[in-house]
């Protein structure tokens, strides 16, 4: 395949950091934005800004069209059956919290089981801990295989007819594991459970079709897929969303209001109280168009090429621990022997290479890996083979620098 060559679309990537051209390998935390997305937000604010769903003036209509147009773009992007099943949120965290609040209140009883995995990001763990405390439901965890994957046996032993809900990440932000969502939803549905998928690390990197996955809820963030921060999406099957109550009450989401009671709008607006994130939706729409113009399949292939190459190079260095399975998404979590990941990241940063160091919002998974922290390099469509080479060079410097000391 021909590697993608799109770095020039991203103004931020043209700068130098600590006197070296920037190599950005932290896209799993947040992705950079192409000029097209920045322009779309600027154009919206310059020419179309107004509040939506109210008033009769021209700008109000333009803003409403832009916002609802973005919803349709998202619907088509993930192949949702209806645009009213697309709820705009602040991000993945808020999307999951809406389901944890609203679905649980209606459908979770004491003694019901909620099934998770130990590889969940805190944002798909803490909301369920709270649900368990509020409702008296029990949390169960599908045990991981040694390589950080889920086996069919483990899935089938953990999900039972007592399971009411399965909340699982599509792609692990630490291990890069790609979970078999389709198989899990099929089995969970047989057991009578619904499935929520945390797609924050999947949607930016691969074609996601919520109908093919047959999940009940799917959550993701705009900022990890070249869109702005502060916008995310909750997809939910309308059969569930229709039965769920709003979580936030106020302006925008209402139908009729009297002094002591009110009714609210239908889907999706009943979940979007207050002035919505209009510019964010416009930016997300531009990001989707940008990614689709390039092609999600090409992006997946490009990242795989970079990851395979980086793996090969890493294996040639001594004393590198790599976490996660062979089949993985475009990120590598690792530690250098005798070098704390913070120190690794500081050395890399001094060479202009940005990686993440820490617990990656996955403290239970760090415990499972028996480490307190790790370093992580994550790749996206704008990264190149040269970026990987710079990363590997930086690691060699870190080894040399700390090797001298020890």
């Amino acid at each position: 395949m021909t590697p993608l060559d799109v770095k020039q679309d991203f103004p931020i990537l043209t700068q130098t950091v600590n006197n070296h051209p920037l190599v950005y390998l932290d896209s799993a935390a947040t992705a950079q934005k192409p000029q097209m997305v920045i322009d779309a937000i600027e154009t919206y604010y310059k020419y179309d800004n107004a509040n939506v769903h109210r008033g009769v003036h021209t700008l109000g209509q333009r803003a409403t069209d832009a916002y609802e147009g973005a919803r349709e773009t998202v619907q088509q992007f993930i192949n949702a059956p209806h645009s009213k099943e697309i709820i705009f949120t602040r991000g993945t965290t808020q999307a999951i919290n809406i389901v944890a609040r609203s679905y649980s209140e209606k459908f979770i009883q004491p003694g019901d089981e909620i099934v998770l995995t130990p590889m969940e990001h805190h944002s798909n763990l803490l909301p369920w801990q709270q649900v368990a405390k509020r409702t008296g439901a029990l949390l169960k965890f599908i045990p991981l295989e040694k390589d950080g994957t889920l086996s069919e046996t483990a899935v089938k032993q953990t999900i039972t007819d007592k399971t009411k809900l399965v909340a699982i990440t599509h792609v692990s932000n630490v291990l890069g594991t790609i979970n078999p969502i389709k198989e899990i939803t099929t089995y969970a549905h047989e057991m009578g459970a619904v499935v929520l998928v945390d797609g924050a690390q999947a949607v930016p990197h691969m074609k996601v079709d919520v109908q093919a996955l047959d999940c009940d809820f799917y959550a993701f963030s705009g900022h990890k897929m070249c869109g702005p921060t502060g916008i995310g999406v909750l997809y939910g099957k309308k059969q569930w969303l229709n039965q769920m109550d709003p979580v936030e009450y106020g302006g925008e989401m209402i139908d009729f209001v009297e002094l002591t009671d009110a009714t609210w709008k239908e889907l999706p607006w009943k979940f979007e109280g207050g002035t919505p994130i209009i510019a964010g939706a416009v930016g997300l729409q531009a990001a989707i168009k940008y990614l689709e113009n390039i092609g999600l399949d090409k992006i997946t292939a490009h990242e795989k090429m970079l990851t395979d190459y980086a793996m090969e190079q890493l294996k040639q260095l001594d004393g590198v621990d790599i976490y996660g399975p062979t089949e993985r998404c475009g990120l590598i979590t690792f530690n250098l022997k005798d070098v704390h990941p913070h120190d690794t990241a500081t050395v890399l940063d001094s060479y202009g290479v940005a990686v993440r160091a820490g617990h990656h919002c996955c403290q239970p998974l760090m415990k499972w890996l028996n480490v307190t922290a790790t370093a992580r390099a994550s790749f996206y469509l704008y990264n190149t083979i040269e970026d990987v080479d710079r990363f590997i060079d930086g690691l060699k410097q870190a080894k040399e620098f700390f090797g001298d000391v020890f």
Binding site: N18, P341, H342, D349, G358, M366, T372, F401, F406
Partner: protein, 146 residues
């Protein structure tokens, strides 16, 4: 490529404290305080014996990067045998140093802590350096309440 920039941060004396930490371990008496840096997972457990407003003994255990562990080692070394008042003054001095504020050392005996001066140029690492000091302040606070 040169290591100049990194040398500012990782001076030999820091690496020496990291590699050969002083006062590492536990104490069976006195007070114990655990503190972590939730953004990165670094964790320090501090053991202090304070008698008559003097820090009689100080030890630490922990998991963390070179900066946080070296800082803990230096901190325990420098406050041991000092009065509580001096320990708190040192903490204030250290905090100002991290913020890049010019402060009179006021005849304080600084030990090795000045070696950490370079950290101020690495804002992302200041929290690593201050973790042990914050734990120390909290330990003294607790002692006051007892």
């Amino acid at each position: 490529m040169s290591f100049n920039n990194l040398d500012t941060l990782y001076r030999q004396v820091i690496m020496d404290h990291y590699k050969n930490p002083r006062n590492k371990g536990t104490l069976n008496e006195g007070l114990t305080l655990e503190m972590n840096n939730p953004t990165c997972g670094d964790r320090i457990q501090l053991h202090f014996i304070i008698e008559g407003e003097v820090v009689i003994d100080a030890k630490f255990e922990g998991e963390g990067c070179s900066i946080s562990l070296a800082s803990a080692s230096m901190m325990t070394q420098v406050v041991k045998g000092k009065s509580v008042e001096e320990a708190l003054k040192l903490s204030q001095y250290f905090s100002n140093m991290m913020l890049g504020k010019e402060t009179d050392s006021d005849d304080l005996e600084l030990g090795d802590i000045e070696a950490l001066q370079g950290v101020q140029k690495f804002p992302a690492r200041i929290k690593c350096a201050t973790l042990a000091w914050k734990a120390m302040e909290k330990a003294i606070d607790q002692e006051d309440e007892m």
